[in-house]
Amino acid sequence: MAGLNLSAVSDDEDDADRDDRPVLSAAAVAAASRSTLRPPSLQTLLEDVPDSAAVPHTSSSGGDSEGKSKSADKSSRSRKLKHDVIEAVNELIQDINTCHEQIAEQAVEHIHQNEVILTLGSSRTVLEFLCAAKEKKRSFRVFVAEGAPRYQGHLLAKELVARGLQTTLITDSAVFAMISRVNMVIVGAHAVMANGGVIAPVGLNMVALAAQKHAVPFVVLAGSHKLCPLYPHNPEVLLNELRSPSELLDFGEFSDCMDFGSGNGAPLLHVVNPTFDYVPPKLVSLFITDTGGHNPSYMYRLIADYYSADDLVVQRRPTSGN
């Protein structure tokens, strides 16, 4: 439970707003609260502990001593359980920390001499992956699509250049024009769904379609913590998040378009700023996870290693204010 929450918070792939706006923290909190993926088996275990410990007290009409020993037994069991859970969570944290390296190790197998790689936006996994290939003396070029409206691609380009990679920065709209010169598209992901679909920064579906048109391999890098046991058709999954329109346009300049004092009081201008795209599995050529490369159709098997079938019943906890 904590592990999954944590993965949502520490998900630096796409949310890495490097300017320290309060938006970031709030967005992280929002992401955490949105992540409804709490495997109830663990959740109920943990939450029921105090309850079940309390129950014998009230119901034990037999004798105080018996009740006490029972609850003592319970508490030792729950301590053991807690210990196990904490250990498992720590293991998961370590997995998450090392997944970049494990993915990056496979870089040389995929990136060859004199190739052109295209990526969009910024992802730490992609950065490490490219740099690992560079360290192995592969010489190649990287096209970075800037990833409007947050322009994380600019940051990635800066990082890549700092590490000595040949980098070309292009606009998102130039992707189709450039794709014919590209040998491989390598991108990061926000989450990988059980059907092999990808939730990724906005604009990636377009890149995937362009890649398909020109038969360029579309490779997604994803640590195993990004695997998600849900299917995109599940109504419980909110596939998108609408962010502030101010990332697109300047409020002050457009403030006269939003004067509700005149006209019929209804806003005429509406700016939509979705954060994510859904890339269907048929557009993905390969997933590279910390356990190796996999086909999209194999993802459900991988997910089964991490989530037991019992955990897949997502249960929403009663809302408690904030």
Partner: protein
């Protein structure tokens, strides 16, 4: 003063460590000290009013928390108990690293009193954020704070940083989109120092006055009218002591800011920090309540939007900006338009249409109801066939079937509107009787008689029940059969201004009227020569002053520059497709500012037209003729509007003569043809042409050149006249 300055610098040197030690504090004023939200605020404090179904104060606190503030002092005055109870029951009282402390007062009547009281408590150490509980923002304080601290290090007198945001005011109503008056700020563009703050510019006079020294002391000053004051201030400790020293400071802006700007003895300075990508606005009146609600729904305040603030997916955003809570009973035939918020447990009946509205929790809405641009709070019952347009409906209201709310209506708590009753536009309805205006003193306009009213609600709350039963028994009520509540009469003087601050958009006929009034005003104003044009640019009045020395030479020069101005105006009109009416207006304005007669206008315009014709490319005289004909046909209306009588027409002919003789000799062979053209287009009357010919009879031979050229045409005119006779 020197000594004081020294003391200040000494303190500054230890400031960094001092600042490092103290957590960032904020003062949140949970009382607006105004009566703009009456009658609602008689029963509930403004900060607890729901904004997209979440109390306003939650937005402010959530922002303060995310912006890194660690300790907040909530100052409660009116309805302090409700605010304190709310905060205690909410999560805010149990947040780690975010301490919310309430300070209660029963006799404060202004922000000034509040700050004086807080100063006496000695709880503020170091810089603090001053904000009122009705502010929505998502800005980052980091940069503003840093700028503030750096300025403080250099200059101990920089005691306050005001947050501003660009927002264009409406050119017609002279008010911002938040319904506040247009605000003028003079800011030094280099240092960002605030030099002048004028929120009550007098449009009746049409100008704002700036202190001469302000221009003299500052190498550059930019006067903005498109800045919105966000009412978020980063203040140094001195601000509190200043309020204590100046016990007459009441209002934060009207007294404190203006007081500091005017006072040059202490030398305190206020700076501004402009935010671009983030949002900040304060709910000051019903219009800003409407505007900010819409901004929130459009997600400008992200992440402080209902779906994120509520957390745990209690509210979900759907396509077209619809926010829906869980457990909504919605009829299949109900039409739910874009940009609406629906609270938990609300029921909506058949064929009901809802658009651009916010609907609270536990409401019951019947069938065939139309709701447009309205704000409906919790547990409201709206029966079948009601119509609501741009209204605010508070908790527990019941609208019986067929009731209609016209735009701008506010129904306060638990009001009942009778069957088929139509509540007239802009009415305020409450269960409480309108308090009698006990303080009509001008003095208390800002203090807003809160002093009297702090106790009023509690006293009245007790009376509500008796009040209620009284009205129920009564035969009638002002709200139709079965209705309960009083329709408040409009405050004196405010009658024709209520549309400004209402939730309803300004009616178009009102806008048209204002526009008309303004045009008239402008014409009057231009006579003074120093008018504040609608775009807010200041026209220089130096030219106007020149004309005052009445000697001949001066007026001749004037005429030349006037002609040039007219020409420029005309060319601009040609190139930018300005409407003829606007050109006329502009030329009239020029005429007044240069003190010219209308005769001169006609001459000058004709001159500009001919010049345009000459300057457009042509190779032969026939082409030139065609050019001239084109220009004259296109702009004949313009010229005609300045030809009121025969004198002006003669002036045009004389002007034409002059052109042919001096500036554009190419025209001289075409003189007769163009004269004919002007006659054909009804620009010149035959009388005028004949009078001109007659006048020239006695002139020198050299002067008669053109009369002779036009002889044929004149002959024809005369014959035509005779025939008619």
């Amino acid at each position: 003063m020197v000594a004081q300055k020294k003391g200040a610098t000494a303190r500054v040197s230890e400031d960094p460590e001092e600042l490092a030690r103290h957590p960032l504090q904020a003062i949140l004023l949970a009382d607006s000290f105004t009566t703009k939200f009456r009658p609602i605020t008689l029963e509930r404090p403004k900060v607890l009013l729901p904004l997209a179904n979440i109390p306003m104060i939650d937005y402010t606190l959530a922002w303060l928390e995310s912006a890194g503030v660690e300790e907040v002092f909530v100052f409660c005055c009116a309805h302090s108990k409700q605010v304190i109870d709310y905060l205690e029951s909410s999560d805010w009282s149990s947040q780690p690293n975010f301490l919310v402390t309430t300070i209660e007062s029963h006799n404060s009547i202004s922000a000034g009193d509040a700050l004086r009281l807080i100063y006496e408590r000695h709880v503020i150490h170091g810089d603090f954020v001053l904000i009122s509980g009705d502010t929505v923002s998502n800005m980052s304080l980091t940069q503003a704070l840093q700028e503030h601290k750096e300025r403080r290090k250099k200059d101990a007198n920089a005691i306050m940083t005001m947050v501003v945001k660009q927002s264009k005011p409406s050119p017609i109503t002279q008010q911002s989109r938040l319904g506040t008056d247009e605000l003028f700020m003079a800011i030094n563009p280099d240092t960002k120092q605030l030099l002048c703050y004028e929120d009550k510019a007098e449009y009746s006079k049409g100008f704002i006055s700036l202190d001469k020294t302000l221009i003299a002391d500052n190498p550059s000053t930019v006067l903005h009218n498109d800045k919105q004051d966000c009412y978020i201030d980063i203040c140094s400790e001195e601000v509190l002591s200043l309020f204590t020293d100046n016990f007459d400071y009441q209002h934060l802006r009207r007294h404190f800011v203006k007081g500091l700007l005017v006072d040059d003895i202490m030398g305190y300075k206020i700076f501004t920090h402009e935010i671009h990508s983030s949002y900040a606005a304060r709910i000051d009146n019903f219009r800003s309540y409407d505007t900010i609600s819409k901004d929130i729904i459009q997600r400008w305040t992200y992440p402080f939007v209902p779906d994120v603030l509520c957390g745990n997916s209690a509210i979900r955003v759907e396509r077209r900006g619809t926010y829906r809570a869980s457990e909504i009973t919605l009829s299949r035939s109900a039409q739910i338009g874009p940009f609406i918020v629906i609270g938990q447990g609300t029921e909506i009946g058949n064929d009901t249409k809802i658009s651009h509205s916010v609907i609270g929790e536990g409401c019951t809405i019947g069938s065939n109801v139309t709701i447009e641009g309205s704000y409906i709070w919790n547990n409201v019952t709206i029966e079948d066939g009601c119509e609501l347009r741009h209204a605010i409906v508070c908790d527990g209201v019941t609208m019986k079937s067929g009731a209609v709310l016209e735009p701008g209506v506010v129904l306060s708590f638990k009001v009942v509107v009778g069957q088929q009753f139509v509540v007239p536009a802009y009415s305020m309805v409450s269960l409480l009787q309108q308090p009698t205006q006990q303080d009509s003193d001008e003095e208390l306009e800002y203090a807003d008689s809160s002093s009297g009213n702090v106790e009023l609600p509690s006293k009245l709350n007790g009376d509500i029940t008796s009040d209620l039963s009284e009205t129920r028994h009564g035969p009638t009520s002002e709200l139709g059969t079965g209705g309960v509540g009083y329709i408040w009469s409009i405050f004196e003087g405010g009658h024709d201004e209520e549309w400004r601050h209402s939730v309803a958009p300004i009616p178009t006929d009102k806008l048209a009227k204002i526009m008309l009034d303004k045009d008239e005003d402008e014409e009057l104003l231009t006579q003074d020569g120093n008018v504040l044009s609608p775009s807010g640019e200041l026209k220089s009045d130096s030219d106007a002053n020149d004309s005052e020395d009445g000697d001949n030479e001066g007026s001749r020069d004037d005429y030349v520059s006037f002609e040039k101005e007219v020409e420029a105006t005309f060319l601009r009109a040609v190139h930018e497709n300005v409407k003829v009416d606007h050109v006329i207006l502009e030329v009239n304005a020029l005429r007044l500012s240069y003190n010219m007669a209308s005769v001169d206008c006609a001459g000058a315009i004709f001159y500009s037209m001919m010049k345009l014709a000459v300057e457009s490319p042509h190779s032969s005289s026939s082409e030139l003729h065609r050019n001239a004909a084109d220009v004259i046909t296109t702009w004949q209306n313009l010229l005609k509007s300045f030809l009121h009588d025969i004198d002006e027409e003669i002036e045009v002919i004389l002007k034409f003569e002059e052109i042919c003789l001096e500036s554009a000799k190419e025209f001289s062979p075409l003189f007769a043809q163009i004269l004919h053209l002007l006659y054909d287009k009804d620009i010149l009357e035959e009388d005028a042409i004949l009078r001109w010919a007659d006048e020239k009879e006695g002139a020198d031979e050299s002067d008669k050149v053109f009369v002779q050229r036009a002889e044929k045409f004149l002959q024809w005119l005369r014959e035509a006249e005779e025939e008619e006779d």
